[in-house]
């Protein structure tokens, strides 16, 4: 009965949103194949996400022996069932012999759990999909020394084809370009929003904790203040602090830091008429240098100004934070904690007290919040890279799906996003996009749905 209610609630919401989609989205039907996209072999050319092979991890600076420990929770070794899957029989990954065939750098472990996230381009769109393969918790997870020779040829007719090959090496944690993997990953931030509400059975249960535990414990709150845990492992010892059940809203990823397509805002001219924002030359591109698609995790949370402190009786600040958060909730809705959803970097930075130029909260909020202790309404931080917060995840092996269209979202994949206890997702747009991608191989805004297609998308969105 409870389950039926959950589905009914979700279905109603999906139908409502789907109706809007039907009315609002311009059509590209004329450009589509008939019958719908996805029905032809040429519509499914994008590979489905799979785990990388051990050798590829080694070549890219990851110590596979560390990755294969339980705490890293690597898909293919651990977490086949259980979160992020929501159903007991739903697998997070399956063995698939086609993986290595499509891409020899992959191993035959295909990822079904497809995590949704917002791009870091300020758009707030719900169109990033990633594979949360594993967690890195300590600098020792990176290779310090590694060497592998590739391309050796000793043969050919009469044995006259000889090539000593090239050596892929890591010395003192640096690749032949002199860059450590840690340094590369440090350019790519994934923004995680852990739940702040204190669970039942603990002191101040139900209240919002104003600070994370661990090294980021807010020095502006008294010792003994309840904190939300960041060093969390599941029953199998897997790092779980950023596992979906522990999040209050969906991720944001800086996949747009990619010099190849210019979406990192690179502008290589001193001429202000050419580059009004100034010269910008990002050294790394997400899909260029960060071949594992790994991230450093930046946590963000509501500060004590925003949520008060149950220990001291401090109340949320009614002058700055509460109105701002209410405004944000009007714009994007609320998350599992009942605090507002944040979609963009500017929103977070503004609430942290940074002047970001044009206010992201509208004309009633021209200035960012400011308090005497140096905090805003929100805070951010990163976990200790030396393992002091272990088993907290400091980094993620979590490649974005480069192009989730045209077959990349398989029919057996499922969507991993943050949901209310009712089963309703915090952001339904992920469900609709996922359904469109799964059914037709395109984003919803790239297709004009017929009524039957719309029904199909709605049904899928309600289920995924």
């Amino acid at each position: 009965m409870k389950s039926n209610r959950k589905h009914a609630s979700l279905s109603v919401t999906v139908l409502a949103l789907g109706g809007l989609l039907f009315l609002a989205v311009p059509g590209l039907l004329a450009q589509q194949d008939q019958p719908p996209t996805g029905g032809d072999a040429d519509d499914t050319f994008n590979p489905r996400p799979c785990d990388f092979g051990d050798t590829f991890y080694g070549d890219n600076g990851i110590d596979v022996t560390q990755l294969d420990l339980a705490v890293a929770g690597r898909f293919g070794n651990f977490r086949q069932f259980g979160p992020p899957a929501r159903q007991a029989k739903q697998a997070n990954w399956v063995t698939d012999s086609t993986c290595a065939r499509f891409d020899p750098d992959r191993r035959n472990v295909r990822i079904l759990a497809t995590t949704g996230g917002y791009p870091d381009d300020g758009s707030g769109t719900a169109n990033e999909f990633i594979s949360l393969i594993g967690f890195l918790t300590n600098q020792i997870d990176f290779e310090a020394t590694y060497s592998r020779t590739v391309g050796t040829i000793n043969g050919g007719l009469d044995g006259d084809q000889q090539n000593s090959g090239e050596t892929i090496s890591i010395v003192n944690s640096q690749n032949p370009r002199g860059i450590s993997m840690q340094s590369i990953i440090g350019n790519f931030e994934a923004y995680a929003a852990q739940k702040q509400r204190i669970p039942a059975g603990q002191p101040f249960a139900g209240s919002l904790a104003p600070t994370p535990c661990g090294v980021n414990f807010d020095p502006n709150v008294p010792v003994g203040t309840p904190c939300f845990p960041v060093a969390v492992a599941d029953a199998n010892g897997v790092s779980a602090n950023v596992a979906t059940p522990n999040l209050r809203q969906d991720w944001r990823f800086a996949t747009n830091r990619n010099a190849m397509d210019g979406s990192d805002n690179n502008c290589l001219s001193n001429d202000p008429t050419v580059c009004p924002g100034g010269f910008s030359d990002s050294p790394f591109g997400y899909f260029c240098d960060d071949l594992l698609g790994a991230w450093i995790i930046t946590y963000f949370w509501n500060s004590h100004h925003a949520v008060g402190n149950p220990l001291t009786g401090e109340q949320p600040d009614q002058v700055q934070c509460v109105p701002m958060l209410n405004q944000l909730a009007k714009m994007h809705g609320k998350n599992l904690d009942g605090t507002p959803v944040l979609l963009t970097a500017n929103e977070l930075n503004f609430l942290e007290g940074k002047n970001v130029g044009a206010t992201p909260l509208g004309p009633n909020f021209p200035n960012p919040p400011s308090f005497p202790d140096g905090e805003g309404c929100m805070q951010e931080g990163k976990e200790d890279p030396g393992g002091a917060d272990a088993p907290a995840a400091v980094w993620l092996i979590c490649p974005a799906i480069p192009d989730p269209r045209a077959g990349a979202i398989a029919v057996d994949a499922f969507l991993d996003t943050v949901r209310f206890p009712s089963g309703v997702p915090v952001d339904l747009r992920f469900n609709l996009n996922f359904a469109c991608l799964q059914a037709f191989g395109v984003f919803c805004n790239e297709i004009k749905l017929t009524s039957s297609q719309l029904q199909k998308v709605q049904a899928m969105a309600a289920k995924n």
Binding site: N172, K354, N355
Partner: protein, 447 residues
């Protein structure tokens, strides 16, 4: 019988010799008259952190003088005396023909020639100066290039790998949170403090301006006005420094003189510091064993969208005063200086990165194969320095108002008041903001 060797000189040769003798002869007879007609070029430069560089520079300048019939005089002044010396020359209206600063001397823009001509000359050989050099030497309001920039020194984080290994961070602290947590644990375990410079020195200035930027604050707002952000991000930086100092600092750090952070690192009394690689070079010279334990990494990852960023330790800017006696020679010398950029890079032991990048086209190769480094590729961490280095005055230009704020140590003094518990975050910020506002207003009136 002897033979008379025929003369090798013809009548024509004799006449030539006579003419030359007539021209030069008087100077043999009266050498002081020859010197009197020789031009003089006087240069005063900040004393480089790598002393060998200054020796080379003086030799190079002398050679240039020989080629240009000019007597070149080079004076060195310690970095901490540069501001006073420059102010004195401007006040007197008398001084050196070239004054070399380790930062953009924008506040003297009315007392210098427009250096655009030098840039035009150099551009014909090496192209336009890069973005950072342009913004360091151009004052948009006056539309004047107030200095000529030839090189800059990046600001990586130096850290002792053995100390940081003790807390599981052999690859360095990576970000500000890691710096805080790691420093605290090293302090607890080994009793050794962090070594970030917080005093009113060049090192303290660059460290703390960098920290402001990395916390999403700064002395310029997005509109380009010189105004200290009094909001949360400035106070977040102050609060961070307060906690770091409380958990892993020492009182003497607040009183360090010039290069105090370097001396502490060389004595292995601190775990890390932000500095130009002259620190590591000094270690290599003093004790290779110590040097081998020092690693460098790009600046710490900031917050509030700041990413990885630092300002340069040094922005080498030369000016020709508008009261200089030998302006023509000074401009020629500065233009010719760029021909020596590659040698300057080498003689500075890799400290001086060129603003005209074509002059050292193999810089990445040199960074990757350094004969003194252990391991030889240690300095490749600087490969992206141009990306993560922001001009003084980011997100705008190094304007006169900004540079007066910089040179009057407003930011270090603001931090020190908090670290010494003389003021709250808010009061320290407010006082500094008022000081910045006064400076800004003054320059608005100057025009």
């Amino acid at each position: 019988m002897s033979r008379v060797k025929p003369s090798k000189h013809s009548r024509r040769d004799f006449l030539k010799l006579a003419a030359v003798t007539a021209a030069v002869g008087p100077f043999f007879a009266f050498p002081q008259r020859a010197r009197a007609s020789q031009k003089t070029l006087s240069i005063v430069k900040w004393a480089h952190f790598v002393p060998e560089f200054d020796s080379w520079f003086e030799g190079m300048a002398e050679d240039w003088g020989t080629r240009h019939d000019t007597k070149v005089i080079v004076d060195r002044v310690p970095v901490e005396e540069v501001s006073g010396r420059a102010a004195a020359e401007v006040k007197a209206g008398v001084g050196h023909d070239i004054f070399m600063f380790p930062w953009p001397p924008a506040e003297y823009y009315q007392h210098v020639i427009d250096h655009d001509g030098i840039y035009q000359t150099v551009a014909m050989k090496y192209g336009q100066i890069d973005f950072m050099g342009h913004r360091s030497t151009f004052y948009p309001k006056a539309k004047k290039r107030f200095a000529f920039a030839d090189s800059w020194i990046p600001l990586p984080l130096h850290y002792f790998s053995d100390y940081w290994s003790e807390v599981g961070m052999a690859l360095g602290p990576l970000h500000y949170d890691g710096m805080r947590s790691g420093s605290k644990r090293i302090r607890e375990k080994l009793g050794i403090p962090h070594g970030l410079a917080f005093s009113s020195t060049l090192e303290g200035n660059i460290t703390l301006h960098t920290m402001l930027i990395d916390f999403g604050s700064g002395v310029l707002n997005v509109l380009g006005d010189v105004i200290l952000d009094q909001g949360s991000r400035t106070m977040a930086a102050l609060n961070y420094a307060r906690i770091l100092h409380q958990e892993a600092g020492t009182p003497e750090q607040l009183a360090w003189g010039s290069c105090g952070n370097v001396k502490a690192m060389l004595a292995r009394k601190t775990t890390c510091s932000m500095n130009g690689i002259s620190l590591l070079r000094a270690a290599e010279k003093k004790d290779p064993g110590i040097a081998s334990k020092i690693l460098i990494q790009p600046p710490l990852i900031g917050s509030a969208g700041a990413g990885i960023a630092a300002i340069p330790h040094v922005t080498n800017c030369s000016v020709v005063w508008n009261f200089a006696q030998n302006q023509e020679g000074a401009q020629q010398f500065l233009a010719d200086l760029i021909d020596n950029s590659k040698t300057a890079y080498q003689q500075s032991l890799g400290c001086n990165f060129p603003f005209f990048q074509k002059t050292v086209p193999d810089i990445l190769i040199q960074l990757s194969r350094d004969s003194q480094a252990d391991p030889p590729y240690k300095y490749i961490q600087l490969r992206d320095a141009l990306h993560w280095t922001h001009v003084l005055g980011v997100p705008g230009y190094a304007t006169p108002a900004f540079m007066e704020v910089f040179n009057s140590f407003v930011i270090p003094r603001m931090f020190q008041r908090v670290l010494k518990r003389e003021a709250s975050l808010e009061d320290a910020t407010r006082a500094a903001a008022a000081e910045v506002q006064r400076i800004s207003d003054k320059w608005k009136q100057v025009g």
